[in-house]
Subunit: 248 residues, 8 copies
């Protein structure tokens, strides 16, 4: 139920064309109308530059194509995560300006380039094998209207690599740190800055890495107080929250 | 917001003492009124004979005493779970007819003895060590207005024990089965009856019982299709759901 | 051993054509007769409209074909779970009216449409990816003679989606709630109704979802007292128990 | 090594009272000086209103007393976490205005009440048993110069409780959500707002809650994209990050 | 129902003092009689020298006293596991010849010293800290009428310790091997003999021993094919099975 | 070092052709000679009818062929586990009488049919999906010279199935019980007999079965004292230990 | 920043061509120079005969080829781990003397055969299935300039196998022990020698081996004090540390 | 059997006072004599300055006192781990020069101060809470004749703390790194040096630290190749291995 619907009910009640009891009956179900309000929020969100997102994983080319087709009717950016070259070819037929990020499998239709972020988001990752997840965070932040920079392969085993980039760390308003194996990089980065750090464990590693559980536990136990954590390999979530913070 | 509130708004809108915009403003927030509806549901629940429940674990004698004091203003039954003899002494000063079940630590003030259940609930347990949890289920079902019977110490290592009670199993409308260690009893009971079986794993055991995880996993993997499971040691939950089913 | 067998032994003992010792010898083995009694129960079950069920997973087309062929001799419904289009083609040659549910891989030969359920079973699921498991629950409840409705894609991240369906929730006699990832939907639904809720965790998710363990644990710890849980992805079990409850 | 030290070396080199080689020797070890810089950062941090923090857990009354005594020489706020009434009595002798928060065991010496936050931080928790952790987050955010509000006992089993507070949720710039058991509240809150949500699992629960692991996994798998997670019971960390975000 | 009961029914049927229908009624419930048969088995078991066993863990002195009092009416051995000096004092007042084994907390009333075992049972343990569990196995085997020997502190880190006892290993008909930490001893012993080895993991260790899980997993993965495993710290079970094997 | 070697050294020492010091030197290394003794044990074992075993898993057709070729030089039975039809074809070219068991992938060359077992080994399994593991146990026991019987599909959800076979259970000298899912069958069987029961968990199941961990934990926590456990799917180990017991 | 840079700054300060404040500014960033020092360390490392390492897992043939091409410009050894025959063919075109180790998938270009190790490194493994991991350790130690010996298939189930090689164990300066399943070999070897033992668990096994976790836990709980552990299947790491120790 | 025993046998054989067959019989059992040889090794070890070690955990004052009394007969150092002030008082009555380390509960009787180490061992720890474990490593290395230095509270959240000590890191021949929580320090230290690093996870932390499992997993997944790991809280083991390495 939209505002318009409520207004109509009230108008009809005032006019007497709707009895108070009948109006009561309709309005009593307003909790259902919550849906309507949420939809309005949703629309508002869109106006603010939030992209439409399609989680590509497990969806067929056909399904993604159909969803994107309907999304194209609006003006916002469209982000498809964990997709493939095959999906990209299908999407590109719908919209020429679609771009493919092969490491992460992300596809971005970047139509609205309004900047919503107030500062810079930095995406750091520990090893080259973590780049796909870092890239997913980067594309997400990009799609949400942020200035984003990346800092790849700065793992703690060569601590000078991250230390030499302290200037860039210091410039960021929020930092996403992606790491697999022992997942130690967020603690080090967290200790070097005083802005929020969003840690993303990756499933990179073998044996006792337990598909990213080791990195996840490490990050949750970070001795740096400015670190929060998202799910293993969840580059999208990290980029999303970083964007929300950067809008504040 | 109650029905009464909505009616007043509509009346004032019709009368013109409230503008349509002001009325809209008030009604737009109706999702908040959901609370009110829920409260009404709550009241209705009470009228149907649901007990007021105090989860005693971690609450002080003083806290429980204060809560019970306010509950006594109503007429429904009052159930305090995982309590102690000390709490019981305090509660009994408030209400003479309070009863204490020392195995489970439950206290029941059984004021309304209306039967809400349509049939009999049977509470079975595998070993004597499981009795505290079984008793919690039993007292809960009792407080909710059911005929309840118990069948204790009928574990599968002496399979004749449960088989010799098939007649009683056959009479039950819903069965709660409590077991620790390997948690096999619900599967056997489930195979003997065609009514719903609610399985309660207990933390009884040592070593590879992992504080009830072994029994929990066993029950979740039951090859009897009529078995559902609640949390380890959750006798209250099992008695509660059994009561809901027995009211149908 | 059937009643008839016992009667014959007793008759022969009375007549003297069987000595007391010989009769004793035969009767001492009566526990074996339990089998007979169970078989009778089984037959009774069939007469009550329980379907014959074939768990399709891991069985060859040939095996399923052979089993279904024998089942077709009886009149009850036949349900094949976790099957494939290939199996369906083979089954359909045996029986024209077989129907295939591609999301869940279920095949239903619905010959006996007697209604056994007293009310309506509602099957809700959190996301579109949970639909295969929800569908398995739905087909099972259908095969067991119930009026079933579904409510898909009502996950808690958009809470208005489930709230807007409170009317339908309120009409159900028992509700199956299917959810992966954090598995929070059963708690919310459980709080909105006062009927039994059967929660089904799904293996949907990645990383810390641990193939459904996260959702399973969430459901076992539900703060709604009317929730019980079945195994991960066990739509069949949930539909089965819901049907048993709906028959009461 | 502080700036002052470097300046002195340079001055002595210019004056010639220190040879270039000797100066080189001293400065070559400047990485050590990083410590000094960090201290300066630290001082800067203090000027920005960051409190001095003592993690009280496992420290004796004597140890905490000694640490606080030295901290009192500066002007910043002092926060002691997971402490006790006994520690409080000792601290209060040192500083009259120390305040004790018995639920969380926090002690706050709130000397500098400058507001550093730009908006309001909201701390929500699911059940009364989660209040100690929520309070720790609240005191932390308070100590760091924020306007903080709390919203306790709004768990998802009574979904109207959180829905009725949507207005307050909408006013917050960042939200901390504390929950044990199934840990579902952050997902629901996350779906209702478009600001960052920091989820804190608590060790509240029993059996399959696995001391908070169930809640932690649930939060990591949240289907709301604006949720990040900190360690189990880490109210301090959540309050800290919320404060950092609120300063942006 | 005992044989005697069945005989009486048959006699009354033959005599005509019981109608065939009434007899049928009584006998139809014979599955219940299974209990009786089991009891007879039980009695037979006792005659074979199986001890009566009281699992002492979690039982009060009063409870154990009451149970033992009734057991003393029979002639078999009585074994109380995981008990205490306090229980022992109470038991000893009932029966002078009770013996206490303080390491394991076992109490044995050894009245029937008939040898049932055909050979020798050897109980080996890796470290001195494993002795309590080894002793429980030893007392159990003793109570069941076996010649038992022990071989303590022969862990694999000093491999000569077990090698120097090969002659004794070679003489055993079945071997119980008790070990905590890495649990490697059963594999080594298993490789040295060609008789069954029953491995008992203990909860001895710390950190990654996970309260005996490490030892348990090690034993389950033993590369010696003659090793089977019982629960962590289950000396009783190991002694029991060893006794069964030694009777064959 | 064989007996013959030691004899030669001693002879040479007596003759004086070897000095005492030199002899000492040679004999001091006798622990190395242990190998020789072990080899002799090995030979003795072979004479007793132990088969040569090839663990087929992960070995190429070529490798298995080469190993079997050398084994055929001796007279003992040859057992290849977890193999394939392809391997079977290769082996059969080497030895006509090789037999293939397709469920378990076992190949047996059964040349020596001497009976070493004193009684009967019974192999029971809970469901048809457990048959491959049960068959591996059966073939192993067969290869080691035992009379073996099987009892398939007697899971506890239809308890009459196992109860109706009590006579056969009673005849066995040792019983292997194979079960997946909740793994409850060994407890029930263990309660029905007084001989050793070797429980084999299988990886059959899904979701919370955790690839057999649920069944494994259930069996380790069995409330029947005569149950010991081997690794998940380790039919070979169970058949091997059962054979050792049956030889006693 | 190199020494040379610092010297220049100091010289310019002395000369007055750089003000003290400007010099201060430049030197304040010296922590960045840490990078430079680290690079120098890196170069030094190369001069000492450390090989360049390419972790082949997950890299394409093309990527490895490109990396190796650049590495060939220097004179050190080049080690590629977890590679394939296909990669080998590509690498061999670049450098004729490349050698392939098919069990481990390692490729070694062994140009500098200088011995850096002071003694002998022994690589032992428990079963033939552990050889790939052992070989990775061996090739690594070889590439780092060590005398390496191997001792394969000496698992503890046939304890004489390792005992017969005590002489070779005694000659080693450091020992790598590789084992899957129960992972007991390092404890036995550790007890036989007084040099450091590096234990490598492997993922060999099934069921309760949990992909190497069982072996890993066993090794971490070793009762031999001279044992340290690396990640599951991490032959490279073990060979690397052994080489470092052997250089001391 | 000692060398002396073998010599006597050989002498008697040569003399003819022992027949070759009898001598053979005695010598065939020589593997048992391995014990004797090992004991001799043990004595040799002592002469090399290895301390006698008493693992204090779980031992009574009386037991430790008795053990130490016998140890004092020899001249080597005596180390008692995880002990208490009460034990110390008892030990000190036996030997005046005993020293107590209250953080770790270690007691050292340091009689032989011979240096066996060739270089310096550095013991670093991340936080003050890790000091007890670090101290245990330090006392162990001290007792084994090493020059040991400590570097406490240098965790990665303040990376400058460890960087400022690079000179001391560079001087060490082997480094022990102790850390709880995320366990990241060994990776950072490992990247700064080219000597072996022994990582010790501690049980410091809460929630997702899982009593040290998080730190343990982090260390096992270290991206620094020179890191090996010991059990959680195993300071003794780390100090022991570091000492072995430092003797090389």
């Amino acid at each position: 139920m939209t505002e318009q619907n409520i207004r109509e009910i009230l108008t009809r009640v005032r006019k007497g064309s709707l009895s108070i009891d009948k109006g009561l009956e309709k309005l009593k179900h307003l909790p259902f109308e919550d849906v309507g309000f949420a939809r309005i929020d949703h629309h508002r969100a869109i106006r603010q530059g939030f992209p439409e997102v399609v989680f590509g994983r497990g969806k067929t080319v056909h399904q993604i194509r159909a969803i994107v087709e309907r999304m194209l009717a609006h003006e916002q950016n469209i982000l498809i995560t964990r997709s493939s070259a095959e999906v990209f070819r299908a999407v590109r037929k719908l919209e020429r300006q679609a771009q493919f990020y092969p490491d992460s499998g992300a596809i971005l239709i970047h139509r609205d380039k309004t900047q919503h972020g107030k500062g810079k988001i930095l995406i750091a990752c520990a090893g080259t094998a973590d780049i796909p997840v870092a890239e997913e965070a980067l594309v997400t932040a990009d799609a949400m209207g942020n200035t984003v920079e990346n800092l790849y392969d700065v793992g703690v085993a060569g601590i000078h690599r991250i230390l030499s980039e302290r200037a860039r760390l210091a410039e960021a308003r929020v930092i996403v740190v992606v790491a697999g194996m022992e997942g130690a990089l967020p603690s080090v980065v967290g200790g070097l800055v005083s802005v929020p750090v969003i840690a993303v464990p990756t499933s990179i590693g073998y044996g006792a890495s337990l598909n990213g559980i080791a990195a996840l536990l490490g990050m949750l136990n970070s001795c740096s107080s400015n670190v929060t954590v998202v799910n293993i390999d969840n580059g999208f979530g990290a980029g999303y929250v970083a964007s929300l913070i950067n809008r504040l």
